[in-house]
Symmetry: C2
DNA sequence: CTGAAAGCGCTTACAG
DNA sequence: CTGAAAGCGCTTACAG
């Protein structure tokens, strides 16, 4: 009746609805969920909301979920990989109908070993095919951005972002981006060097700054840095500035993700652009269809990416027009 | 039995637990919630997760909630003030036991008109005393940061952050920060001018940049900008840089919140520091105690703040030590 | 000490 | 067309 599925005389309906108003009645969703076997809530698990990409994606996911009438439970996983497991099992307690998961580490990830998987969509670079997933072709994108730097004249290019310890980064992502970087070097006939593959302690601004500082302390010579995320790139810009190294005059820098800060950093950051909103929509489309029909075969959706060229890679600073490419609606 | 409250022979308990393992049993939280009248989940409502402060606070709240064994449902409210109302009423559907709300607009806010309030903690500057709340003394803090600029030699100081339309900013916050700014001008015997109170279209980086650009277009003369948030300040830095205006040589800039980007912007940003973690802990302490006992009188917790002085306000750039003050654990 | 039963608030299939 | 009853999966007070 409350859901409007039963046919009642309109007068009766009106009287009941007035009574509901007067008594300030609200339906108990626990009871409804128990009865229906659905909660109308999904879970979202991201490494660290304090990081730009996680924040932007969670914003996009919240909007997309809201549009579909879904509530969202959010969890962070960076602190302990165990939390990915907890979240997946919680899905099976019926408090969430499904889960969007950005795995921190693939090997330790739940997905490989869970027997009875709840509806789940993995976002990001993940090397498994048992669940639905949404991804950007990180390898091709990183190759593109690295080739761009080579075209700009860079010859000793640092790839920054592999993890010195394994707290916080999706190793599959690192792997793909590193491959793309190496692809570009090889295509240009440039030598790869271990010295130019710079680790970071964590995927945060501070981590990016620490990685760049370490390079400088070691006296490594380089003329460009391909940072694996925009957040890392912001840290790199900071460390270079502290050291009196100019970007792009002395060193070129690029990022990945095209978060809002990329357009507004100093200098604005050349980066890999893709629509976070589109990413979120694709994830929720997959998830809702999976919730409806669990027998569907696993699907993978690739989100297109492009290169957003800005001043940090030595592009001419086009005043007033420099944001056109990376503009988000 | 599952919760461990009943006394059973240890042998029996072991056998049952093994059976649970084998059958891969997970408790149905909907059923438990229905029975107990508690879901173990709280709601968190913030204006926009894509904004630095919201992202940082939600990160802190998620960690604090996780430590207390609480799940968190997150909602954004900036897009439509109506959502604040929806969330408060949803709390009463028993899917969340309580709510942490960072209200966008006080006047339209739910709190004033809701008859039966669920357990709720308001965070931020709010001019009402019917609910528990956590806040920073924005007025005193903004007075401090403005006085600091005056001490640095600034005379025509812009206060940037009031809303040209009312999408996205807590008007009470704007009000408090504007008062603090005026307090400082008055204390220094400087004239206040409407021309120096710069509106922004929204509380985002882009909004801050737009506000600063408008000032420049109008030809307003100024030697410092007190931005009402760090996010706005980042936009201001960008707009000034695009216009070829140097910070701090030509204009001083300050922010509010001390988000991670403040330490890493170019130049690093002088801002009002306070512990986001402490803020989150206080909010959850208030909320959990309120959930336990709804008859408690409304309480207000003030989080201490301090001035984090960095290069953007003309402080000497102390290489390597410039982050000491604003360092977060 | 242990087991059976009641009831949380819904929704839906069923009887009247 | 309408109303009463069953049952979702738990927890706890109660009877045995």
């Amino acid at each position: 009746m409350i859901t409007g599925t039963v046919t009642v005389r309109s007068g009766t309906r009106a009287r009941v609805e007035r009574a509901m108003q007067e008594l300030d009645f609200v339906p108990n969703l626990n009871a409804r969920g128990l009865r229906n076997g659905r909660s109308g809530m999904i879970g979202v698990a991201l490494p660290d909301l304090g990081t730009d990409f996680s924040a932007s994606i969670s914003h996009a996911l919240l909007e997309a979920a809201h549009r579909r009438g879904l509530a969202v439970q959010v969890e962070e996983t960076a602190a302990e990989p165990q939390r990915e497991y907890d979240l997946v099992s919680r899905a099976r307690t019926h408090l969430v109908d499904g889960l969007v998961l950005n795995p921190v580490r693939l090997d330790d990830s739940v997905v490989g070993r869970m027997e009875h998987l709840p509806p789940i969509v993995l976002i990001g670079e993940v090397e498994q095919h048992r669940t639905d997933r949404v991804f950007v072709n990180s390898r091709a994108a990183t190759r593109t951005v690295t080739s761009h730097l080579i075209a700009q004249g860079a010859r000793r290019i640092v790839a920054l972002g592999s993890m010195s310890n394994d707290a916080g980064a999706d190793t599959a992502t690192v792997d793909q981006r590193l491959r793309g970087y190496l692809d570009a070097l090889e295509a240009a006939g440039l030598p790869a060097s271990q010295e130019l593959q710079a680790p970071v302690p964590q995927w945060t601004i501070e981590g990016g700054a620490a990685g760049a500082s370490l390079l400088l302390e070691r006296g490594t010579q380089f003329d460009a840095v391909v940072a694996f995320t925009d957040t890392l790139a912001v840290g790199v810009l900071h460390a270079l500035r502290e050291a009196g190294i100019r970007v792009p005059e002395d060193v070129l820098v690029t990022g990945f993700d095209d978060v809002e800060h990329a357009r507004f950093s100093s200098p604005p950051l050349t980066t890999v652009h893709f629509s976070h909103q589109e990413y979120a929509e694709a994830a929720l489309d997959l998830l809702t269809s999976r919730i409806e029909d669990r027998t569907l075969p696993p699907r993978a959706v690739e989100i297109p990416h492009s290169l957003a060229v800005r001043e940090s890679s030595g592009a001419a600073p086009v005043r007033g027009a420099s944001d056109a490419r990376g503009a988000r609606k």
